[in-house]
Every structure is written in structure tokens, then in C-alpha cells.
């Protein structure tokens, strides 16, 4: 496992700098970039096509934005309602202030049930709270059942993308990862898929715990809505005797019309399909009259830094439905991949929320050229580029003296005029000030031909 990958699976401030991680990602063979380009271009292209062909796509995004904002504004109230309705349906609800409380609740539950085997459907929040590691400490082996996430688990890597955890893996990588599990075929996706199905099926049936995330939780009915592309969510939540659903506290919506709109956008933005492949709507555990479903349902609602975002200028970050579209559209993500962000969340949304959630890795807000492609792609229209700017402003300080001096000079036209280098001069490398030296590593330094514009204007040389 490379350092890049190791750090991506942990929380808090990574040991290396953002620039070092960028360099490490760029220094590879180029396979990473090829693999990312292939899958993100595919997903981004489909979503772009749908945006262009769908009548009123802009209005839908705008509507989704205001619905999400309204729900987040009412968060405490909606969460209360959700908890009441989940409990009324026979489930149990636990509010976890942080990762330790969340994992503590789940490991205690596992011990109480004497559990040793868990299956999991891909969930970013369980990555965020490092649930698998905590379960392992109490003797529970958790098996990921999303195909990509399973490959990542077998490879000892955290997910590299919110939606496509293994999108950076080539077919050859897949074969390498599956070999030790007993796969004997070649680079044929269908054969690998069939192998995975055969291998994972008994795990579902043997599991003591099924752990899933939650895409949306409906306050009015206490229903947990879960989306997967492979149907593994249904088996994970339904086959084992205990279902633990873990959600970030922002995932609540007031009522069903929101679900309708958000799922339509989630499928399109995330995977380029008109509606998500598998949608499960779970209200409570198995009822008397029902044949299957879990005996117990536990909903763990995780704060872990989210309530600090509430009421802050970055509140809109909580509107995110984790579709991954901003990663697919991002020109930075496409060069460095997910692991270089040094956290489980990557891409534009990661660069926004990681510093907010973990109060560390503040540098991440600089992992963007602020091009706005993320904002253009986001189905709930989060102005991610503005939130990145907000993050930069929140943690500005180390360069204050420099910028103050700059502001003093450049707010005076006379001093400004003096900062222009003499015409035609390209100073020797050693005399170039540091920021320009960095510039000059891959680019020639600009060189002005002739006098500055203001000088030429004053001399009357500008107009014909």
C-alpha cells in the first residue's frame, strides 16, 4: 500500500502536504489518469447529455436546491420526526455525536448479539467513522458487498470515489485482487462478476449483521431509502437478522415528493440513468405478517462535525446527496484521483467538507482551480467553488503579511506602476522570487514587450 493510499483511509491531518500528494499521484505510470478518465468521462458525459435533453433540467436542479436547503434549515425538527416515526415502526434510533459514539453503539450491539460476521452495502459514512476497523477490534469481520468496494477492501485500499470506489482499477487490477479469493478466469468483467456473486452470496446468508448507509430518510413516515446499482443493499438489509443503517444527519427529507425529485436527479447525476437501478424503501424491521426482513432495525444518525456546519456560511454543503457528479466533472480529480485528497471524501465536495467535518486538512480547499465545473454538474446546485473560497478565507492567515504588503502596493497606482518588471527582461532563475520560480518549473515566465500599458497610454501610443 502506498503512503498516498494509507493516508486516504484515515481522518484528520495527513502527514504529507497536498502538493506532495498531488506530485505522487502525477508521478505514476499514467494508468491512474487513464482509468479515471475512462470512467468519469463516461459518467459525466451521460449526465451532461441528460441535462441537455431533459426539458427543464435547470428548473429541476433549482427546485432540488431549494428543497434541500429548506430541509436543512428544519434539520432538528425533521430529525425528531424521523426518529419518532422509525421508532413507531419498530426500529431503534441512536443519535451519535461523533465517530466514537457511532462505532461504540454498533460494536456493543454486535457483542450483545454475539455477532462475528457482518455484510455491508457501500456507505461513505461508515468509511468516515472507520466502522470496519472498529468491528474488527471486537472480532466482527465485515465484508463489503458492493463489487467495487469489495475490490477495495480486498486490496486494502479505501474507496477512491464516492460512487465508484474502484473506478481507478483496470481489468488487470481486478484479476490481481480476485486471484487470492480463488478467481481463475481472465479479464472478463462478466466472469469476474459471476465469481463475485458466487462468493458473496453465502456471506449474506451467514451474516449476523447487515450494515448499510441511507441515501434519504423520510421524516413523515420514518422510511429509509437506499439506492444501489447491484441489488446488494436489499440482501444486506434484508437477509441478516439485524440491520444497522448508518446515516449522516443531513440525509433527512420532509416527505415523499422530495424523494421523487432527488432520486430522479441522483440516478441521472450519479450514474447517468433515468432512475437508480435498485431503490429500497424500508420502514421498520420485519412485521408479524411478513416473511422476511430483519428482526431488529437500528438507525444510527451521525453528527461527527455536521452540526458545526449548520448555520455557518458553508451550510449549503449539507445539501449534498453524494452522487459523485462533481468528482466526475472535476479537472483536478481527474488528474490526481481520490486518494490524493488524503481522506475518504474526495473531489470538490471532499475538498469542501473534509476541512469542515474534521477541522483538519484545511489545505484541501486549495485543491481546485475554481473552474466551477462541479457547480455546473451538481444536481442540487451547490456552489462548490464559492464554498472552496469560503474555506480558504476561513483558514487564511499564514500569508497575511505578504498579501497585506501586496494590497498596500497595489492600491496605490504609483506603487503599482513600479511593480512591473522592466520590458523584455527574463531574470535568471536564481533571481526569480519563489512563487514565480514554481511557475517557471513547467512554463516559461511571461515577458513584456515594450512599456506598460499605462506608460504607452500616457505617451499617446495606444490609439491609431
Amino acid at each position: 500500500m502506498t503512503d498516498l493510499v494509507r493516508e486516504a483511509g484515515t481522518r484528520g491531518a495527513p502527514a504529507s502536504s497536498l502538493r506532495d500528494r498531488e506530485r505522487a499521484a502525477l508521478a505514476g505510470s499514467g494508468h491512474l489518469q487513464v482509468a479515471i478518465r475512462r470512467s468519469t468521462d463516461n459518467m459525466d458525459g451521460r449526465w451532461r447529455g441528460l441535462r441537455e435533453s431533459l426539458p427543464g433540467a435547470e428548473e429541476l436542479r433549482e427546485a432540488a436546491r431549494s428543497l434541500r436547503s429548506a430541509a436543512i434549515t428544519r434539520l432538528p425538527e425533521l430529525l425528531g420526526q424521523l426518529a419518532d416515526n422509525v421508532e413507531a415502526a419498530g426500529g431503534r434510533v441512536f443519535f451519535a455525536a461523533d465517530a466514537d459514539e457511532a462505532t461504540g453503539y454498533i460494536t456493543e450491539l454486535a457483542q450483545r448479539r454475539g455477532a462475528t460476521r457482518a455484510v455491508k452495502a457501500k456507505s461513505m459514512v461508515t468509511e468516515e467513522i472507520q466502522l470496519n476497523a472498529r468491528l474488527a477490534e471486537v472480532g466482527v469481520t465485515a465484508v463489503e458487498t458492493d463489487l467495487g468496494e469489495w475490490a477495495q477492501q480486498l486490496d486494502g485500499e479505501p474507496p477512491a470515489h464516492i460512487l465508484g470506489p474502484a473506478l481507478h482499477k483496470t481489468q488487470a487490477d481486478w484479476v490481481r485482487v480476485l486471484r487470492p479469493e480463488g478467481y481463475e478466469g481472465g479479464e472478463d468483467p462478466d466472469a469476474m462478476c459471476a465469481f463475485a456473486r458466487r462468493t458473496l452470496r453465502p456471506r449474506f446468508l451467514d451474516a449476523d449483521l447487515g450494515i448499510t448507509g441511507v441515501n434519504l430518510a423520510v421524516a413523515s413516515t420514518g422510511t429509509l431509502v437506499m439506492v444501489t446499482n447491484e441489488g446488494n443493499g436489499r440482501l444486506t438489509s434484508g437477509a441478516p437478522p439485524v440491520h444497522v443503517a448508518v446515516m449522516g444527519m443531513e440525509r433527512v427529507v420532509a416527505d415523499w415528493p422530495e424523494v421523487d425529485l432527488l432520486l430522479a436527479l441522483l440516478g441521472r447525476a450519479g450514474s447517468g440513468v433515468n432512475f437508480p437501478t435498485y431503490v429500497n424503501c424500508l420502514t421498520g424491521p420485519r412485521r408479524e405478517s411478513e416473511l422476511d426482513g430483519p428482526e431488529e432495525l437500528h438507525l444510527v444518525i451521525v453528527d461527527n462535525g455536521r452540526s458545526k456546519i449548520l448555520g455557518s456560511p458553508s451550510q449549503e454543503a449539507l445539501n449534498c446527496i453524494r452522487c459523485g457528479a462533481c468528482l466526475n466533472a472535476c479537472p483536478v480529480f481527474r488528474q490526481i484521483g481520490g486518494h490524493a485528497y488524503g481522506d475518504v471524501y474526495s473531489g470538490p465536495i471532499g475538498a469542501v467538507i473534509v476541512p469542515l467535518l474534521s477541522d483538519g486538512n484545511h489545505e484541501l480547499s486549495h485543491a481546485s482551480s475554481l473552474c466551477g465545473a462541479c457547480w455546473e454538474a451538481c444536481p442540487v446546485k451547490i456552489p462548490l467553488h464559492e464554498l472552496l473560497l469560503e474555506g480558504r478565507a476561513q483558514h487564511a492567515g499564514s500569508e497575511r503579511a505578504l498579501w497585506r504588503a501586496w494590497a498596500r502596493a497595489w492600491s496605490s497606482p504609483r506603487a503599482f506602476a513600479l511593480t512591473g518588471a522592466p520590458a523584455g527582461l527574463r531574470p535568471p532563475q536564481a533571481l526569480v522570487p519563489p512563487p514565480f520560480r514554481e511557475w517557471a518549473k513547467g512554463r516559461t515566465l511571461p515577458r513584456r514587450e515594450g512599456s506598460t500599458f499605462r506608460t504607452r497610454w500616457a505617451r499617446g501610443e495606444v490609439l491609431d
Partner: protein, 236 residues
């Protein structure tokens, strides 16, 4: 119209030929051009780095200088600096009378020509141009047709097919904070340049970055600001 040039810091100090071309093109389109001399910079370098107060200091002084000029409109040969004043400045300066006076009348060059370019037409030798959509201009100002329409005023110019909308990797101070990444982004875009005769854009900052990279790579394709192509095509 009487038009005040907002040339921007980069054009003034590094690429004055772009300012000259802009002024001439505006004059040839029938406008009276003035240069409010107290202007410096829109404050964007500090703003994008997170230093809002410092950005505001510089922005305020430029806005004051611009507002003092007796003009009907302002024109900048830079989509990004236009965006700074029109879009981002409002969050930086509360109730600033100079901002209120300038922002609604500030145009990016091709945007201005689309409305007030009159019959301006010209010609150059046949030349295929790869037009670069700079990010602020494309996504904040939503100017996609305007720069192309401006190029269409010049006979002989045809648009080359390339990866026109992808960010070039400049990103202000991003280009020096993350130089390797910035260059990798430029390379991906430049790889699609193919046989275009020139690379053209409406943001001098992106062009400085792309030109610097092409020169470093030893590629001879000229990099030209939209104003320069218009100026060359409309010479009397």
C-alpha cells in the same frame, strides 16, 4: 459611446499589447476610448487565496478610479476580472457606491461587441483558431456565443475543434501552489490542440499560462488574445 478601459493588472504589466488591441478595436467600432489612470487590479489574486480584506482594499481603489471617469460603459479584455467585479465583489464590499456605479456597466470585450460592436468587420489570412472557454467567462458570465461571434466578424478565421471547455489549469495562485498539477491540466487540454493555427482566448491569465507551457514544450502554435485577432483583422 464613451468607453472606459479596465485593462487589468496583467495586461498593464505583462501583456500591454492586449490593452492596445482592445482600445483600437473599440475605437474602430466607433467608440470614444478613455483610460482611467488610477486603476490597478480587481483584487482577485488575494480573493482567490482567501485574503478578502486585502482583496477588498485593492478592488476598492480600482473601482474608485473607474467610477471617477465620465463614461457610458467599461470594457475589460478579461472574463475573469469582469466576473470579479460583477459577481464576487458584492460579497466583498457592502454598499459601495463605486461598485454600484461600475458593475452594471462593466462588460467583457466580446460581450460589449455583441451589443455595441456595430458593423465592425475585418479579415485575416485563413487561420483556424482553437478558442479556449475560460471558466469564469463560461460559467459565471455565461459567455459562450459572444467570443465566437466576435471572431466571426473576421473573415478568414475558422474555429478549430478541440477540448475547448476544459479548465486550462491556471486558476490564479493555484498555478503556483500546485504547479505540477496545473501543468498536467494544461497538458491534457493542449494535447487536443491538433493542427490549429492559433490558440485564442479572452482571458490573459489563462493565455499566459498556456503560452508558457507551449513554449516550454517547444510547440510553436501562437497564443493570441481575442482582441489581438480582432485588431489585426480590422486594421485600417
Amino acid at each position: 459611446m464613451r468607453v472606459g478601459l479596465f485593462v487589468t493588472c496583467l495586461v498593464d504589466l505583462v501583456a500591454p499589447e492586449v490593452g492596445v488591441a482592445t482600445a483600437r478595436v473599440l475605437a474602430r467600432a466607433g467608440h470614444e476610448v478613455v483610460f482611467p489612470e488610477g486603476q490597478t487590479c480587481c483584487g482577485q489574486p488575494a480573493f482567490n487565496s482567501g485574503y478578502r480584506e486585502e482583496a477588498a482594499t485593492v478592488l476598492r481603489s480600482t473601482l474608485r478610479a473607474l467610477a471617477a471617469a465620465d463614461v457610458d460603459a467599461y470594457v475589460a479584455p478579461a472574463g475573469s476580472c469582469t466576473t470579479m467585479v460583477r459577481t464576487f465583489a458584492a460579497g466583498l464590499l457592502d454598499d459601495d457606491p463605486a461598485l454600484a456605479a461600475v458593475a452594471p456597466r462593466l462588460y467583457e470585450l466580446s460581450e460589449f461587441l455583441a451589443e455595441h460592436g456595430g458593423e465592425l468587420r475585418g479579415r485575416v489570412r485563413r487561420c483556424s483558431v482553437a478558442y479556449h472557454d475560460s471558466c469564469h467567462m463560461l460559467r459565471e458570465l455565461r459567455l459562450r456565443g459572444e467570443p465566437r461571434a466576435a471572431l466571426a466578424r473576421v473573415d478568414g478565421v475558422s474555429l478549430a475543434d478541440w477540448d475547448e471547455q476544459r479548465c486550462c489549469g491556471f486558476g490564479g495562485t493555484f498555478a503556483v501552489r500546485s504547479p505540477e498539477l496545473s501543468v498536467a491540466m494544461a497538458d491534457e487540454k493542449l494535447r487536443t490542440l491538433g493542427g490549429a493555427d492559433a490558440l485564442c482566448g479572452a482571458d490573459p491569465s489563462c493565455l499566459m499560462h498556456l503560452r508558457g507551457r507551449l513554449e516550454k514544450l517547444g510547440v510553436k502554435t501562437p497564443v493570441r488574445h481575442l482582441a489581438e485577432i480582432l485588431e489585426e483583422g480590422t486594421r485600417p
